[in-house]
Amino acid sequence: MDGNMEISVDKLPIKRLESIEENGAERFPNEVGYEERRLNLIHRIDFGWAVDREDSAKKHKKDTSATTTTSKDATKPWPWKSLVENLQAAHQELSVIIDLINTVEVNDAVTVAGMTRPKQLPNELLSDLAVSTATKLQCYRHLGKYFKQSAKGLEQQIAREARFYGALIRLQQNWKVKRHRMAATPGNEGFYIDLFDNSLYDPAASFRPSTMSTVWVEHDAAGMLAINLPQKAVRSLQFGFLCRNSDTAAIQASRIKAVGSDQDPAGECKKEPESDDDCVKNKHAILREVHRAIFDEQVFDLVNREAFNPSLGVNITGIRENYLELNLSQGASVFISLMPHKHEDRVADSADNQNSESALVRSEFFNDSNAKDRTKDPRKKSVFPNRVSCEIFLQQTFHEHVFVQAKKRTTSGGKMHSGQPTIDRSNLLGHFCMSLAHRIFSNKILRELDDLVSRVPYVHLISHPTWNSRTSSWTLSVDVPQSIIYASCQTQKSDKKAKTQFRTKVLVNDCIKVEGEGAPNVVGLFKGTSERICSINRYDCDLADLPMILLQQIASQIIRWLHAEALMVGIKANRDFLCLSFELEQGETLGLVAHVNPEDPLGCISWWLVMDDGFTEEGKLQSQISDTHNRKFLGHLSLDVLYSTLLDLVSLCSGGSNH
């Protein structure tokens, strides 16, 4: 616009009379149609200012282009110049159109009915299609990645669950698997393993479920089944001897049980990745250890209960937490305790450690003292039975007579295992203590027998296992050598055959019983004559008198044998308790006397040759070594030498009689 404003006024929208004819007819202008009216309005818009501006701009450009022809020649044309000019022209045209539309809409005379997009060119159509296809392809690729990722995650989850449930099903073959729905959390389905034995439920026994009876099953990082046990929860039964006897001052140390040096009770599959089979086996082993620990706790509980019931053979001498000390009748004491399973737990638990250390001596000390005893006297052995065997015996006793019986009662159909005699179920601890006392006592007896037999060469010790925990039996056997038997067969005149084997049986039950055959009744000597003979002599004795009684029994059997041999060759001989006498001429008697001495280190049975001139009192034993002319010490003779001596005496008697 040039600044001159032009105003145009529209005609009023009334019918104007265009002309009147002479005849009076009025002529009105024709009705203007909608389209014509619109065109008229458009034509009224003056685009002159825009056109002028454009012309002036072009002129300016031409002027500038004329003045800068030299510079343009020097510089290169901008490559996007034409694009900018086209966009500017398009922008101008759009501005004009927008102004037109606004104007006609403001005037409310013309409304825009619609706009149509210009028809696209084929290349534009193809490019749009290509873009859409690429977009869709990209979308499908994203979907593919998403599916792969999801599939991978689901596969991992399936593998984890397969491992977990596979292991759980395998554990279920041997253990009770239960589920606690309330404890189910993400990643933990609430499974647990119940180790409590319901068949042992007995109102009288009233076993309380152990804290370890419930073992929770969890997932580890790899999805495998894991078992976590609380520290210091697993304990084992420990048994040991305490001896206050100075003779056998050996205190047996208890060994620290370990689950396994390379095994972790926590149950985690650590270190190297294990296979599923190894992991399941590891879990089985852990559960077995826990099961055994529960059994040990129950046994200790039973031992505690029975210890406070007055019963035979049980004397409590000490009690602390998880520790019980009992006194046996053979001067020995034992302790039973519950100890944590691992050494670290044992060190941490100071109370239990103090109990065990106060009762124990280091095993090295025990080994040293035992070795010293053996070097001094090789025959001296410890009278205490093996600690581990005692522990097993304790567990086996309670298992057999409490747990197995309980299960048989519930099933009411199991067969009874024969073997041990029926034991009073209410006094199992008494039976155990008495069995231990018997074992210690029988070891002492065996030591005495072994000591005795080692010093008498012709006596043999024969053991008779009785398979009874409170009965032991041995036999002392004296066998006549074969050479003597052969020689005797050659020289004997009668058809009678002398006895060639003499046995003395030692039976230990509640006391020591000695049974001897073919010997004079030793006890009968104090009541009657020595001729009173019983086929079997039976008598009780104690440990202190046992060696003397056995030696007397053996010596009397030898004397009897010699007497029988003398009779066989036709010589009349008299037999006393431990003396075999021959009559010589002029009333003299020559006697072969046995002397027994359990303390003799060279031999327990020695022989004397005694000459009796007939003036000494009858029946009086010549125990005093005062007259060396009447007696001669022959020494510790073997059976061969004795038989030879007998024959010499026989020949002497025969020669004397011939004279």
Partner: protein
């Protein structure tokens, strides 16, 4: 799941358990059907919208629907996996017949093993007793026993 009583009609708690089992079976089958149906329908839709349309708006709409269907497919798969876990848990806790058979078999094997062990122990004891007797006789008649006596002397 113990399906033996699924269709049976018993008395007392057995009937209630059978009804509960049947109901649960029906529920599980319905879940399986739903999940499988969702998977199939979603996959069909994804395949059907592979065609490129002229309208960009429609293409964008279809892209959004594809993503939604894909997530529904994954959800259905996860639901099926959970259903399988539930079935495994039920099987673990409910397979009484199999467990009882296995326990009885195992009990029989262990009783047999115990009897064999007892017999073996008895034989070992007898052999040990016989060996002890023999060794004792050899010992006392051997040079070692004699040497011991000579050492004592």
């Amino acid at each position: 799941m113990n399906k033996g009583g699924a269709g049976g009609i018993g008395r007392g708690p057995t009937a209630a358990a059978a009804l509960a089992a049947a109901q649960k079976q029906k529920t599980l089958q319905q879940r399986v059907d739903n999940d499988i149906g969702t998977l199939v329908d979603s996959f069909k839709f994804i395949v059907n919208v592979a065609r490129v349309n002229d309208q960009p708006v429609r293409n964008s709409h279809e892209a959004l629907m594809m993503k939604m269907r894909a997530s529904r497919m994954v959800q259905s798969a996860d639901s099926l996996l959970k259903l399988v876990s539930e079935l495994k848990q039920t099987t673990t806790l409910s397979r009484f017949s199999t467990l009882n058979d296995h326990v009885e078999q195992r009990t029989e094997e262990l009783n047999q093993l115990a009897d064999e062990t007892d017999g073996m122990l008895a034989r070992i004891g007898d052999d040990a007793a016989a060996s002890l007797t023999e060794l004792e006789s050899h010992y006392y008649s051997s040079a070692i026993g004699m040497n011991q006596i000579d050492n004592i002397k």
